[in-house]
Symmetry: C2
Subunit: 320 residues, 2 copies
């Protein structure tokens, strides 16, 4: 039996635990014979409050016998206390595979386990992870990343995608598809997590990068090559490209495309403007480019986005 | 403050609780002032084991003061014990809004709260819900359904979609979008839950409907009007249409389309056959019809499905 240990601490996000837990549980149900032993661990054992206030019962991590260790995300300050970091480092030294959900990557980084590795975390915290741990190569636009025996995943529900990927590595495609069906999720989500995160909520460290983003946002309908953005930031092309990437986890070109898509999506969803007019207004040179960008980011064409928004505006209601 | 009470029982699915809980929790974080009071309830209070074995701490339901009641799904036998049903009926009589996640609909049905209403549940259990509670109008192909003050949702992760819809009803679109971004999920998922459920796992009650489905599966490349399927089942057109709908929650035409899409998806994902050839082989009269069906069911065109499968086959690995 392969034992999966889930490590939590005061202020952990319950969904970061429950999502992967349900996936491993379903794998065992679907397969028949029990594939995974599941236990929830904390430093000292006993009831541990989640960020929502709901406590879960845990076992002390020092007694655990774990093959795969999964660190839940949650509030960062209590997670990074030295006692927690040491408990995880001790556990990790005995496991063959280590994974984190959401901000759980901070705990792995604090314990030095991500040094020289590629990793991801919640899109809103990616720049903070990169700044705090420069030896980690943070990529904010992945649902999950594998680097050697360390798996990190994006925010909250991405923990389910991570667990599906671990199950697929252990037991193959067909079982994993069945698990995904049980949970009513896609086996493999399209795109990275940046499709869920608005560029407008990126928080670059420096004023210069913030200025460049604001400059772009005000001129979406104009051509926005990296040279113009670097000029706006008063940086050389090379300085700008590096700083932008370091602070946002994205290239300038991708960020501009996402600004355009976000602006377009609001107009596609909420209005009745022709899609062609929207494409022009937000700076896509033609509607086909906008269509491809929508499919890449949202998994569907603008017309489908509009149709869903309309259907959702008329929900399935039988009012009496 | 609007109090949301989550009702659980021995054998509940922890993800059915944690998903909606995280959404209401995030709504409060995003909004600033606390919007929702959250409590986890059970009949007697205390630690209650989830289906995974992990216990959560709960309050006794009789003391609760709840505006929205959310019933988690899970193992059906312990859920339907008379004590549990009575506790829920008592709670429900004091709340303004009642919701269920996944098989939680069985508890509402058992308490008579779904009689004469439209409702949904996990796709695998929809036919059982319909058979056990004929006074409920079950629709297996929705992510969630609202009928007057009762909201039911599809399997497991659909509880997150349900919570987002409740939050949108309370606080509007913009806040709900922000909550979805925090959780890294789509604010509104495309399509119904049938996109996640294989027709091949439908379990019609009667041999005749099973025979008709098998007949269709063997002849996907031929025209399959309802008349042919009714003949195969030795039923009149009218008897067949009704029985099919009652036992599967779908129309025969939709089921045939889904059989075709499922057959196509496997070939699109796993092989390198031209999409046109696949469309023909599974009985779509032309590739454009198959493309539209893919977008309706999976939110993306066949080419995008293939691309994702290929990318996933080469995961983000930095092997050492």
């Amino acid at each position: 039996m392969h034992n999966v240990g889930f490590f939590v601490y005061p202020g952990h996000q319950l969904l970061d635990l429950a999502g992967p837990l349900a996936a491993f549980e379903a794998a065992t149900q679907v397969a028949g014979p029990p594939l995974y032993g599941l236990e929830v661990l904390s430093r000292a054992g006993g009831l541990v409050r989640s960020s929502s206030g709901v406590p879960v019962a845990t076992e002390p991590s020092r007694d655990a016998n774990v093959n795969t260790l999964v660190i839940s995300g949650g509030d960062i300050a209590p997670m990074l206390l030295p006692d927690e970091t040491q408990a995880v480092a001790r556990l990790a030294s005995t496991t063959s595979r280590i994974a984190s959900v959401c901000t759980g990557a901070f705990l792995l980084a604090e314990a030095g386990m991500l040094d020289g590795k590629r990793a991801t975390t919640h899109w809103r915290m990616a720049h903070r992870l990169q700044r705090s741990y420069p030896a980690v190569e943070v990529d904010a636009d992945k649902i999950f990343i594998t680097d050697r025996n360390v798996w990190t995943s994006a925010g909250v529900t991405a923990g389910i995608d991570l667990a599906l990927a671990l199950i697929e590595a252990d037991h193959g495609l067909e079982l994993t598809r069945q698990v995904a069906r049980e949970l009513v999720v896609y086996h493999r989500r399209a795109g990275g997590q940046s499709q869920y995160s608005p560029v407008s909520q990126m928080e670059p460290e420096s004023d210069r990068i913030r200025i460049a983003l604001a400059f772009a946002r005000d001129r979406l309908h104009e051509p926005l090559p990296i040279e113009r953005l670097a000029d706006a930031a008063h940086l050389s092309l090379r300085q700008f490209g590096r700083a932008f990437r370091r602070e946002t986890g994205e290239t300038p070109a991708r960020a501009v495309e996402r600004l355009r898509i976000e602006a377009a999506r609001v107009r596609v969803q909420d209005g009745s403007e022709p899609v062609e007019a929207i494409a022009q207004a937000v700076g896509f040179t033609d509607p086909e480019r906008m269509r491809r960008a929508f499919i890449k980011h949202y998994g569907m064409a603008p017309q489908a986005v509009r149709r869903i928004a309309r259907q959702a505006g008329k929900p399935e209601v039988n009012s009496s």
